[in-house]
C-alpha cells in the first residue's frame, strides 16, 4: 500500500521556490531517509506531508489530503519536528496524561515501559531534563502511539553520539515493523545509513536521487584507485573524484564490478560521499559551472 504519493508538489515563499515539482512515492513498511542541505526543501516537504503548510500540486498521505484533513490524519501520523519542541513547563507525568487523553491510539503502559529504561523521573519538568532526555521522552511518547507513518525531522540534532545511537536503536528494535513507515531527515547521515530501506536526495526543491538501499548497494561503488590506474579509472566515467591521504578515490554509478576490482579496493560508498558527488554535480549544472 502506498503511504505517500505526490505529483508535481510545489511550494513557493514569495520569490523563493522551496519545492519545485516534487514527485514522490513511499510504500508501506519503508524507512526513507530524506537528505539535503539546509534550505533544500526537506522541512517544507515534510510540513506539506504533515498538513502544516499549504501546497500546490497533488499530495495524498494515507489517502488523505493533509492540508484539509490534518486532524484525521494525525491519528495515523506522528512526528517529531525538531528537537526541543516539547513545552518546557510540562511535567513528564502531564505529558503522558495529555497524550493519553487526546490520542485514541496511545498506549500509556508502553510509554511508561520505554521511560522505565531511562533515568527520566515522572515528576520532572521538561525544562529540568537534558536535551538527550527530552529526545528520549519525545520518542517514548511517539513510539507508544500506534501510528502508520512516523516523520522525524532532525530528531537527534545536538545530541551526543550515545543518545543518537540509542535513539535509532530503540526506533528500529522497539517500534519499526512492516506495517509502519518512517521518514527521517538528518544531517548526521552516518547514523541512519544502516537503518534506511530507501534513500532520497533533495536539492533546491527537487528530488535529485531516489533509490532503495538494495539499488544503492548494487549501483554505487567507491574505489580507492592504485596510483598507476588513475587514467583507467577516469576512462570509466566516475561520478566524482577526490583525494584522500595521497590516494584518489573514485565514485562510480553502475560500473562493472570486475572492471573496478582491477583498479583497487571497491566498496559501497557512504551516503555522505554519494551526496556530495550527486548534489555537487547538480548544483554545478544549475549554476552553469563546469567541473
Amino acid at each position: 500500500m502506498t503511504v505517500i504519493e505526490a505529483h508535481g508538489l510545489r511550494k513557493t515563499f514569495g520569490k523563493t521556490i522551496a519545492l519545485d515539482g516534487v514527485d514522490l512515492r513511499v510504500e508501506e513498511g519503508r524507512i526513507l531517509g530524506l537528505i539535503g542541505l539546509n534550505g533544500a526543501g526537506k522541512t517544507t516537504a515534510l510540513n506539506a506531508i504533515l498538513g502544516l503548510t499549504q501546497f500546490q500540486g497533488e499530495l495524498k498521505v494515507l489517502g488523505r489530503n493533509p492540508w484539509t484533513e490534518r486532524k484525521q490524519l494525525m491519528r495515523d501520523v506522528c512526528f517529531i519536528a525538531d528537537v526541543a519542541v516539547l513545552p518546557r513547563w510540562i511535567r513528564v507525568s502531564q505529558a503522558l496524561e495529555y497524550v493519553a487523553g487526546v490520542h485514541p491510539r496511545f498506549d500509556r503502559a508502553k510509554a511508561e515501559g520505554f521511560l522505565a529504561r531511562t533515568t527520566i523521573r515522572r515528576d520532572s519538568k521538561v525544562r529540568e531534563l537534558s536535551k538527550g532526555m527530552v529526545a528520549q521522552l519525545h520518542l517514548a511518547l511517539v513510539m507508544a502511539i500506534d501510528a502508520r507513518l512516523l516523520v522525524l525531522d532532525e530528531p537527534t540534532l545536538g545530541l551526543d553520539i550515545l543518545y543518537r545511537k540509542q535513539f535509532y536503536d530503540s526506533l528500529l528494535n522497539d517500534y519499526y515493523d512492516l506495517n509502519r513507515t518512517i521518514i527521517v531527515t538528518t544531517h548526521q547521515v552516518e547514523d541512519v545509513q544502516h537503518i534506511l530501506t530507501d534513500l532520497m536526495f533533495i536539492n533546491r526543491g527537487r528530488i535529485v536521487l531516489s533509490c532503495s538501499m538494495e539499488q544503492y548497494e548494487s549501483r554505487y561503488q567507491e574505489v580507492m584507485v592504485r596510483p598507476g590506474q588513475i587514467g583507467a579509472a577516469r576512462a570509466l566515467k566516475p561520478m566524482n573524484e577526490r583525494q584522500a591521504i595521497g590516494r584518489s578515490t573514485f565514485l562510480f554509478d553502475g560500473a562493472d564490478r570486475r572492471q573496478l576490482a582491477v583498479l583497487g579496493d571497491a566498496r559501497t560508498p557512504s551516503i555522505a560521499d554519494l551526496f556530495i558527488a550527486v548534489v555537487g554535480n547538480h548544483s554545478g549544472e544549475r549554476e552553469g559551472v563546469t567541473r
Binding site: L50, L52, T53, Q54, R70, K71, Q72, M74, R75, C78, F79, I80, A81, D82, A84, V85, L86, P87, R88, W89, I90, R91, Q94, E97, Y98, V99, G101, V102, H103, P104, H138
Partner: protein, 311 residues
C-alpha cells in the same frame, strides 16, 4: 421471546456508539483545557492571591477602625451599608482580577506556543485548531468565571464568619446581622454578574486571542495601540469620541445593563435580587453584536493558527 433477546443487545450497543462518539468529540477539548490550567497557573493563583490580600487588609482595617465601625453598626440608617461594604469590595476586586487575568492569558495563549516552538508538538496530535482555540477561549469565558465565583463565595463566607464574630463582640445580635446579609441571594446576583461580564467581555478576549495568533512580538502594544490610535485619529479628524465611548461602554456596559445603579452614598436594598435587570441586559443590542464579533474574531484566529509557524 427469541426476537426480543436478539434485539436487546442492539439498543445499548447503539447507545454506546453514540456515547463513544460524543466522548471522542469532547475528550480533546477537555484535555486541552486541562493543559491550559497546567501551563498557566495564574488562572487560579491570581484570584487566590488577591483574595488573601483582601482578607489581610480587611483584618487590619477592622482592628484599626473598631470605634468607627461600632458607630456605623449602631446607626440603623447606615448599618446595612457598613455591613455590605466589605462584601462588595471583595467581589469587585476579584471580578477586576478575573478580567485582567483573562486578558493577559489570551494575549499569550496563541503567541507563547509559537515562541517556545511547542506548537509543533501540539500540532502533531489529533487536536484540531478549532478545538485548541475553543479550549483557550473557554478559559476566560467559562473556567475563570467559575473559579472566580468559587473564590468570591469562599472569601465572602470567611467575611461572614468574621462579621459575625465582630457583631457578637460589639453587642449586636447575630440574627440582626444575618438578616442584613442574604448570602444566597448575594451569590445568585454574583452569578449573574459573572455570566454577564463574561458574555460582555467576549469580544475583548476574542480580539486579544486574534492578536496573539497573528503578531510576532509585542502582543500588548499590538492589542492596545490600534484602538488608541483610532480614538486619537477620530478626535483630531472629527472632534468626536464615539469610538472611545464604544470602548468605555464595552468595559462597563455589562454592569450598567445588568444592575440598577446605587446613587452615590445610597444604601443597598435588603434584597439584592431586586437590583438585577436581566431583560435589560439581554435586550441590549451591543451584547449580541459583541457576541457576533467574537465569533468572527475567533474564526480568524483559528484560521491564522493553521498557517502560523513557530516564531
Amino acid at each position: 421471546m427469541n426476537t426480543q433477546s436478539n434485539a436487546m443487545p442492539e439498543v445499548p450497543l447503539e447507545a454506546q456508539v453514540v456515547t463513544n462518539a460524543a466522548v471522542a468529540a469532547t475528550r480533546p477539548l477537555y484535555w486541552s483545557i486541562r493543559r491550559e490550567l497546567w501551563e498557566d497557573r495564574s488562572i487560579y493563583f491570581a484570584p487566590l492571591a488577591i483574595a488573601s490580600l483582601f482578607m489581610v487588609g480587611f483584618l487590619i482595617r477592622t482592628i484599626q477602625q473598631m470605634p468607627k465601625m461600632r458607630a456605623a453598626l449602631a446607626d440603623p440608617v447606615n448599618q446595612r451599608g457598613a455591613i455590605h461594604m466589605p462584601f462588595h469590595i471583595a467581589a469587585f476586586m476579584l471580578l477586576v482580577t478575573a478580567f485582567f487575568t483573562g486578558a493577559f492569558y489570551c494575549l499569550d495563549a496563541l503567541h507563547g506556543e509559537r515562541r517556545d516552538r511547542s506548537v509543533l508538538f501540539w500540532k502533531s496530535l489529533p487536536v484540531s485548531d478549532l478545538t485548541t482555540v475553543l479550549a483557550k477561549v473557554s478559559i476566560p469565558l467559562v473556567v475563570l468565571p467559575l473559579i472566580t465565583f468559587a473564590i468570591i463565595v469562599a472569601t465572602q463566607f470567611v467575611l461572614f464568619l468574621f462579621s459575625t464574630a465582630i457583631a457578637l463582640g460589639n453587642g449586636l445580635s447575630a440574627a440582626t446581622l444575618w438578616a442584613q446579609l442574604p448570602l444566597w441571594k448575594m451569590w445568585l446576583s454574583l452569578l449573574c454578574a459573572l455570566v454577564a461580564s463574561a458574555l460582555w467581555y467576549a469580544p475583548i478576549y476574542g480580539w486579544l486571542l486574534l492578536v496573539s495568533s497573528y503578531v510576532r512580538r509585542a502582543t500588548f502594544l499590538w492589542a492596545v495601540l490600534p484602538l488608541f490610535a483610532i480614538c486619537v485619529v477620530e478626535k483630531i479628524a472629527l472632534n468626536t469620541l464615539s469610538f472611545a465611548n464604544l470602548l468605555k461602554f464595552r468595559l462597563i456596559g455589562w454592569y450598567t445593563q445588568t444592575f440598577v445603579q446605587l446613587v452615590p452614598g445610597g444604601v443597598p436594598p435588603a434584597d439584592p435580587l431586586t437590583q438585577i435587570t436581566p431583560w435589560k441586559f439581554l435586550s441590549t443590542p451591543e451584547l449580541w453584536i459583541g457576541l457576533a464579533v467574537t465569533a468572527v474574531l475567533l474564526a480568524i484566529a483559528i484560521r491564522i493558527r493553521r498557517y502560523r509557524e513557530p516564531i
